[in-house]
């Protein structure tokens, strides 16, 4: 079958390391002439501002997928953390309204709530041995219900300017996202934790026989995933200047899609942070360009749904090609 040159090229492309980066470039180049305002400095900033918080969530999810799990609750954790931040800091209704320490306390609360929710996921998966997707689906429902109950569906305004600045200055958000992504990348490639993560994802039984503390590492990974969602919540909340119980509700697809498009395997053991960066970038480009082309939110959702299916399909194809060799 691989004798045909076209097929061989396709196979090479499928197995290429930076397939998605090339895809991003080709996509941008192809759409730029037809899309008014696509290739501009201002639009690049828009794309980056959109992509930054999603990237942080996606990096956390990448770790979970590598260890062979899934976390569907990340976007609802973003929503709850956003609400908690608002409840603590808001000048209108915050518990620490006007207090000097409102911002640090707010940040701390957001991060600890999200890490705590990650810990609940981790316990459900490791100690209770509930399949990860159903465990995190349940926490997703519970957590988003909690966010809505806490606010009675209202948005919380009046966030302190010191906090909002985090979202207004693109370089600040960029640095937060960049540093966390870089750290995750280093952890995966240069530390014991990273090696253990891949080993568990490849073969949890073999890892456990080799003395890897499988339950502890898995638990910790869910905590990290929750914590990253909290970090993303800070960026989202500061960017939109409100604590919103429905924040990031429609981004779950972007997050799962970006990670899968980035080449992280749903079966565990394979994936890289760099792939996720490109995956996020790709979906952000798609989102932005379709918006500029005047397509509605719903059409874009449909296209993204198709894109994630295509990515999963590519992943399955890649696996098949890899096992053939």
């Amino acid at each position: 079958m691989a004798s045909l040159p076209a097929l061989r090229l396709l196979k090479r492309a499928l197995l290429a390391d930076h397939l998605v980066l090339w895809l991003c470039l080709v996509y941008s180049a192809a759409l730029a002439p037809f899309t008014p305002g696509f290739a501009s400095w201002g639009n690049l900033q828009t794309i980056l501002a959109y992509a930054m918080p999603i990237l942080v969530v996606s990096v956390g999810l990448t770790l979970v997928l590598i260890v062979g799990g899934i976390d569907l609750s990340v976007t609802s954790i973003v929503a709850l953390a956003s609400v908690v931040g608002g409840k603590v800091m808001s000048a209108d209704e915050g518990w620490l309204a006007g207090h000097a320490l409102a911002v640090p306390a707010g940040l701390l609360a957001m991060l600890s709530v999200s890490a705590g929710l990650g810990a609940i996921n981790g316990l459900a998966v490791t100690a209770c041995r509930i399949p990860p997707f159903i465990a995190t689906l349940t926490t997703m429902m519970l957590v988003s219900g909690l966010a809505i109950w806490l606010t009675l569906s209202r948005k919380i305004g009046g966030l302190p300017p010191g906090f909002v600045r985090l979202g207004q200055e693109l370089w600040l958000a960029g640095m937060t996202a960049g540093v966390t992504t870089w750290l995750a990348h280093l952890a995966l490639s240069c530390t014991l934790y990273g090696k253990w993560l891949y080993a568990i994802g490849h073969n949890a039984r073999a890892a456990s026989v080799s003395g890897v503390p499988v339950a502890r590492v898995t638990f910790f990974t869910y905590v990290v995933s929750g914590w990253f969602a909290g970090l993303a919540a800070i960026l989202f909340t500061a960017g939109l200047e409100t604590g919103n119980p429905e924040m990031a509700r429609d981004n779950l697809l972007d997050v799962v899609g970006a990670v899968v498009i980035g080449g992280t395997s749903l079966y565990g053991g394979r994936g890289r942070v760099s792939g996720t960066v490109f995956g996020v970038l790709f979906l952000a480009l798609v989102d932005n360009s379709l918006n500029l082309l005047g397509l509605t939110f719903y059409t874009i959702t449909m296209v993204k749904g198709g894109a994630i299916l295509a990515a999963a399909l590519t992943d399955a194809l890649r696996n098949r090609l890899l096992t053939q060799e």
């Binding site: 296209v303 999963a312 399955a316």
Partner: protein, 331 residues
């Protein structure tokens, strides 16, 4: 380690957990509010259950094969949106219903294609089609609530021999599903595939066809659930069917269907689970509890159900462990 007798007893309790839960719910709400236990309220609960119940019946088929379908809410929505458009466009009621059901089967078949032919994980495929479906539905309705003519409402308000039509439809679906699962070769093969795909293949079962069918059936049920939901509130809002897949999974799991496949039943299991969830919601309603608390309470109940399922399969695995010697065997 637990003795065989103790683990057997534990299993009995685990099997009956939802029944016990149901009794507790009835007693608690009954004591808190006398209105709760009235016949009219009970009938109300059944009517309210019918849509979720039908959805859960379809989900049970999928769960029995150790799969999952997260797209059923979206299927409901697409079917309802298309149906609404057509009926507002002056199509005949019966034809519209047939088309809606057809859309459900089509969607289910699409899921099945990706899951069985291309061997992609069920939850990823159905997560993607869930977004795809929601996007499609919103596009069709142009994100506006669509009010439908009387025909759907009449369907919902009608009674046959004193029984409301939605309940009748629910009962019909349950009867068909129950017969299919317990009395036909296909149904028994669904269980076999869920228990052990490899063994099922060895026994000569066409496992691909069985798995394909369950997703198609699940899609069909989702469309039917959409029709019943429309009959109770004849409007297609942008959030129509949203998060209903979760209720469906919950009803099935509460009714004793295992997420690990091969174990469970539509009747009484899933029906009981669906009624239980609706009863809790109804009871909270009767007691005037803050509606914002509903999702919290239901997801709490579901978490318990899922946890019980995980414990049960662990106990079962331990009970079925291979033994090297038996006590009766001489040394």
């Amino acid at each position: 380690m637990t003795s065989p007798i103790a683990s057997h007893l534990g299993l009995r309790v685990l099997h009956q957990a939802s029944l016990l839960l149901f009794a507790v719910v009835l007693v608690v709400f009954g004591m808190l509010s006398p209105a709760f236990l009235q016949t009219s309220n009970m009938v109300n609960i059944l009517i309210q259950t019918s849509s979720t119940g039908i959805l859960a019946v379809g989900m049970t088929f999928v769960l029995l094969t150790a799969g999952v379908d997260l797209s059923v809410g979206a299927i409901m929505f697409v079917a309802a949106a298309v149906g609404g458009k057509l009926i507002l466009g002056g199509w005949a009621f019966g034809g519209v219903l047939a088309i809606m059901l057809g859309i459900g089967v089509l969607f289910g078949a699409l899921n099945a294609l990706f899951i069985t032919r291309l061997a992609i994980m069920a939850f990823v495929v159905t997560l993607a089609t869930r977004y795809f479906g929601r996007g499609l539905g919103l596009r069709i309705t142009e994100t506006r609530a669509m009010n439908l003519p009387e025909s759907f409402y009449e369907l919902g308000a009608a009674r046959l021999l004193g029984v409301p039509v939605p309940v009748l439809i629910f009962a019909g679906v349950v009867l068909l599903a129950h017969l299919a699962l317990t009395r036909t070769p296909f149904g028994r093969q669904v269980y076999a595939v869920g228990t052990d795909v490899e063994a099922a293949r060895k026994a000569g079962i066409n496992t691909g066809a069985v798995r394909f069918s369950v997703y198609a059936i699940c899609g069909l049920c989702a469309a039917a659930a959409g029709i019943v939901a429309l009959s109770q509130a004849p409007a297609v809002s942008p959030s129509f069917g949203n998060n209903r897949e979760f209720m469906a999974i919950a009803a099935a799991v509460l009714g004793g269907t295992s997420l690990f496949g091969g174990r469970g039943a539509v009747f009484p299991g899933t029906v009981l689970g669906a009624v239980l969830i609706q009863t809790i919601e109804n009871g909270l309603n009767v007691l005037n509890v803050n509606p914002y608390l509903y999702p919290l309470i239901t997801s709490g109940v579901i978490f318990v159900a899922v946890l019980l399922d995980a414990i049960r399969s662990r106990v079962l695995a331990q009970a079925n462990r291979r033994r090297i010697y038996t006590v009766a065997q001489p040394d």
